[in-house]
């Protein structure tokens, strides 16, 4: 069934969008990532204009994250306090990111930067997670108990706060900084930033994996809602029909994904996420390196 999208101005198959939404929703619920880093390239691929894809994707992430976070709230696996601290940094970061994005857009190199950002961050994070999870699995097989570093430089910083759900007593500076960096990247890359947030929470803040997913989703809702509003009011690129089709599939998928995630071991969950991140990274790097079949690209030049 073909449906005409009023803002994107293209006609697409409604069932294809529902299916894509569902698939990405499952991943979103499983790993606590918004799924934007997968969905945005997929939308480009089916012919949605990039600007519309990025903006609409932010709106869809709001829905799937909200659906996912409700499931986590019931299970009490959301550290609301940590979420709020991260959010403060996240909102400031997102605002800074939009300013940076518009500056780079004026230079005409924004596409390249976005892609390089993807390759760089996906590569580093995916690689680190993969190695770490592999070691963790090997250690549990050998019967070793994983030892968590109790004291590092993070514990020497001031403004300490107790995060009961995460079982942490740390300074608020690292979470705010993590939120800020993720916010900047989220705005530039047009994603929720979960795939950066989740590893940062595990490895930098030392939060337990089970709490990480819910908390990440919680803060993603607000950051993406903020991004959606920015896109809707400045670029007019949020396509509500596209968003509805994606999110109907997405919210259902997120519920299923959350239930799958609970049944899996933390190491398995991490290794799967790492593999997925590396796969997307590989595809993007390949596209940058391989000789294109068409050397020219057409872009609508508005504004001048």
């Amino acid at each position: 069934m073909q449906i005409y999208l009023p803002i994107a101005e293209v006609s697409v198959n409604a069932f294809l969008l529902l299916g894509l939404g569902g698939l990405v929703g499952i991943l979103s619920g499983m790993f606590g990532v918004g799924g934007g880093f997968l969905m945005t390239p997929l939308l480009f691929f089916i012919g949605i204009p990039p600007a519309v894809a990025v903006a609409t994707e932010a709106n869809q992430i709001v829905a799937s994250s909200f659906s996912g976070v409700l499931a986590h709230l019931k299970r009490k696996t959301v550290d609301l306090r940590m979420g709020c601290v991260l959010l403060v940094g996240g909102l400031i970061g997102a605002a800074l990111g939009v300013v940076l994005f518009n500056y780079l857009k004026s230079l005409g190199q924004v596409d390249l930067l976005v892609k390089l950002c993807y390759v760089l961050f996906l590569g580093i994070i995916g690689g680190l997670m993969f190695i770490e999870s592999l070691n963790a699995i090997r250690n549990t097989k050998k019967g070793k108990v994983p030892t968590r570093k109790k004291h590092n430089w993070i514990h020497k910083l001031p403004f300490k706060m107790r995060f009961r759900v995460s079982g942490l007593y740390i300074s608020v500076i690292p979470p705010v900084l993590v939120g800020l960096c993720v916010g900047v990247l989220a705005a530039i890359m047009g994603v929720g930033g979960g795939f950066i947030m989740v590893p940062a929470m595990i490895y930098l803040l030392g939060m337990p994996t089970k709490v990480v997913v819910g908390t990440s989703l919680f803060q993603i809702i607000f950051v993406t809602a903020f991004t959606t509003m920015l896109h809707a009011t400045t670029n007019f690129t949020v396509d509500i029909v596209l968003a509805v089709l994606l999110l109907v599939g997405g919210v259902v998928g997120a519920q299923i994904g959350t239930r799958i995630g609970v049944k899996m071991k933390a190491e398995q969950l991490r290794i799967l996420l790492a593999l997925m991140v590396l796969a997307v990274c590989g595809k993007l790097a390949f596209d940058l390196l391989v000789t294109p079949s068409e050397f020219f690209t057409i872009a609508a030049s508005g504004g001048h």
Binding site: S67, V238, V251
Partner: protein, 251 residues
């Protein structure tokens, strides 16, 4: 007056205004609804003449052109091992859609001179190129635009698609794609004899969004704040709805 005009035509053997196009369109507007999936325009008409059929080969050309929009064509180049966008050429007006249907091979139906004068073929439609000074071959950018749009099916040359009966009646069908831009689609008909345009006629087909599509589009432009909040409200509601539905299923 009319009889005088007819008399004049009889006296003067020149055939410049002897033949005229009378046009019919299956529809003069295309409504884009939610289920819009392309449209077919049926263009038909007749050659009105008040003399006997003149000498020379008759040709009929029908063009439909989408609203002209400015575009930037950028070229990719390998820098430090990766492919990046380098110089760009701004093309001030390129139609988002352009179809040319002819009654025979294009070169035979229309002379080069008249093609340039009336801007009939696709390349002659692309207007006013402003290239930065460092770009040497601006024409390769225009060719790239033509190539990409042709491959995407937005630029069409339909040779022999116009059927002419008895040198008087003509008809053609032109398919409009599903990805249509809103606006007035200029429709032109040219009548030629031996490649020379002897009559032309221009009208427009109004392509516009209607109903829900119209409402959403206007809202997003006129009240972006409301539109954004509405999008978020739908997202939150859908998220909550799915969560509630699943907990009901479990219990």
């Amino acid at each position: 007056m009319r009889t005088l005009f007819a008399l004049l035509l009889l006296i003067l053997p020149t055939a410049i205004t002897a033949e005229e196009v009378v046009l019919g369109l299956s529809q003069d507007e295309v409504a884009i609804t939610t289920s819009f999936d392309g449209s077919e325009i049926f263009v038909f008409g007749a050659v009105k003449r008040e003399t006997t059929i003149p000498e020379g080969d008759l040709g009929v050309i029908v063009t439909i052109s989408g609203p002209p929009l400015p575009v930037t064509v950028r070229r990719k180049e390998r820098r430090f091992g990766i492919w990046v966008n380098t110089e760009g050429v701004d093309i001030e007006a390129a139609p988002s859609y352009y179809a040319v249907a002819t009654s025979g091979p294009f070169d035979e139906v229309l002379s080069i001179r008249d093609n340039l004068q009336y801007k009939v073929s696709v390349p002659s439609m692309i207007e006013a190129i402003s290239a930065p000074t460092e770009v040497i071959d601006a024409s390769s950018y225009v060719n790239a635009l033509l190539r990409i749009r042709e491959r995407a099916g937005s630029f069409l040359l339909l040779e022999g698609a116009v059927v002419v009966d008895e040198q008087t009646l003509f008809r053609t069908r032109i398919q409009l794609p599903s990805a249509l831009t809103e606006g007035a689609y200029a429709t032109r008909i040219f009548l030629t004899r031996d490649g020379v345009v002897i009559s032309d006629y221009e009208t427009s087909i109004d392509v516009r969004k209607v109903g829900l599509e119209r409402w959403l589009f206007s809202l997003s432009r006129e009240q972006p704040m409301v539109y954004g909040l509405m999008s978020l409200a739908i997202a939150i509601f859908a998220g909550w709805g799915a969560s509630a539905a699943f907990s009901l299923l479990r219990n």
